[in-house]
């Protein structure tokens, strides 16, 4: 599903990570500064590796040896950022449909209804992002990423900016997403409890290196 073997020098910090994942949810675990966000940004194409390859769903999206670098917008990925990043000039419904419009996909009312129900967005559709709570924003961001029909969903600490109560509010949605949405995910977090609940596979990162790889039990 996803194969990564990359090197990147960022100032003093060097990142060298190799892993392959087949699981439904790959948890990228590590302390802050371990290189998690840089790694996920390379998978998204927002950051270009100095050396190495990235293969998503059989397609080589990065291969420095042969000069391949597929731009982000052609990678067909979904990305949920810690800070939601909803478009402030569009309402929730327009935010949700943005990816479908940009990818020139035909309207899929069935999928849209399913996602809206899955994430309980029905009551929010007419609102502007400025009028949403942090938890609501994050749910809309999840829906927006899903509706662009990605082949891989990247989540960079999607609960990181929320307080405990809001986290507990969103977690069940993420579990439902994992079990029902049928899109493989890479989930970045430094929270062991979160990853125990969600991940099916763990990549542990420390100071830019993969220190262990395996099932959720490596988190002990």
């Amino acid at each position: 599903m996803l194969r990564v073997d990359v090197e990147k020098q960022l100032g003093e910090f060097s990142l060298h990570a190799t892993f392959a994942s087949e699981g439904r949810v790959t948890g990228l675990f590590g302390a802050s500064g371990a290189g998690k966000t840089s790694l996920i940004n390379m998978i998204a194409g927002l950051l270009r590796p100095d050396r190495g390859t990235i293969v998503i769903d059989g397609e080589t999206v990065d291969d420095t040896a042969s000069g391949i670098h597929v731009p982000t917008w052609r990678r067909r990925i979904g990305y949920v950022f810690q800070d939601a990043r909803l478009f402030p000039h569009l309402n929730v419904a327009q935010n949700l449909d943005y990816g479908r419009r940009m990818n020139r996909l035909a309207a899929d009312p069935a999928q849209r209804t399913r996602v809206v129900e899955l994430l309980d967005l029905g009551a929010l559709l007419d609102r502007r992002p400025g009028k949403l709570s942090g938890g609501e924003r994050q749910r809309v961001a999840l829906g927006r990423a899903l509706l662009s029909k990605p082949r891989l969903l990247l989540l960079d600490e999607p609960l990181g900016a929320l307080d405990e109560a809001r986290k507990l509010e969103i977690l069940p949605y993420l579990v439902r997403l994992r079990d029902e949405a049928n899109v493989p995910m890479v989930y970045v977090s430094h929270d062991v409890a979160e990853l125990r609940q969600l991940a099916t596979q763990i990549v542990m990162l420390r100071q830019g290196r993969v220190t262990s790889f395996g099932g959720v039990k490596v988190l002990t």
Binding site: T72, W73, H89, M102, K131
Partner: protein, 231 residues
């Protein structure tokens, strides 16, 4: 109220036409340049930035003279345009529009650039991850979010264009009905005996137009802030 004579109306309408055309033609260039200066790093960027601001600090008569040398009938660009495209600037209202466009360009670009700089690039990245190609990112995210700044730049540019005097009179002279704008009409009137009343009326018109432009620019700027906060 104001008893405006036909000759004064001619000058006012010509000023409006010159300023509107100058603003509309300058806007796409202004947006492109604002985006370039706000979002791209390239060799010679500070030089380009300085050249854009030059009309703001150069004596207007110098800008007008340079326009005459370049776009006049015998000028390098002027003769080419006249021979091949039939576009003549010298002593025509189109030349006045060109002079006004050049003179107001720095004021037009600045709010546009500031509003593009104020847009969180993370939003543009988010658009990319959703499958938007760079030009689509620009038209669906960058430009809509910068729109109040773009409008503010247009209003400010328009206000400057309608008041332009030095470069215009140097480049295209002061021909009633063709190149005599409000400013050059006032200039002629105050040199004429008994011209005071007419000059006074045009002065009031200028003040009203300038104030109106400044107030609407302020209003657009407030809208920009509200828009970026998603309300």
């Amino acid at each position: 109220m104001l008893d405006i004579s036909p000759a004064e109306w001619t000058a006012i309408l010509l000023s409006l036409r010159v300023a509107i055309i100058a603003t509309l033609v300058a806007t796409p260039f202004g947006i492109a340049l604002a985006w370039l200066l706000a979002r791209r790093d390239f060799w010679g960027k500070s030089v380009l930035d300085a050249v854009v601001h030059l009309p703001l600090v150069l004596p207007p008569v110098v800008t007008g003279y340079l326009l005459l040398l370049t776009f006049g009938r015998r000028g390098l660009v002027g003769s080419f345009l006249a021979d091949h495209l039939g576009i003549v600037f010298a002593f025509r209202w189109t030349g006045a529009a060109l002079a006004c466009g050049v003179m107001s360009f720095p004021l037009l670009v600045r709010p546009m650039r500031l509003s593009i700089e104020a847009i969180d690039r993370k939003l543009e990245q988010a658009a990319e991850t959703l499958g938007a190609a760079p030009f689509k990112v620009f038209f669906t995210v960058t430009l809509p979010l910068a729109l109040p700044g773009v409008l503010a730049g247009m209003v400010l540019g328009f206000a400057k264009a309608i008041g332009e005097f030095g470069a215009t009179i140097t480049f295209v002279s002061n021909i009633p009905g063709e190149t005599q704008t409000i400013s050059s009409a006032i200039y002629s009137l105050i040199q004429t005996p008994d011209g005071d009343a007419a000059a006074g009326r045009l002065v009031i018109v200028s003040i009203v137009l300038a104030l109106g432009a400044l107030i609407s620019a302020e209003w657009f700027a407030r809208r920009a802030t509200a828009r970026l906060h998603g309300n």
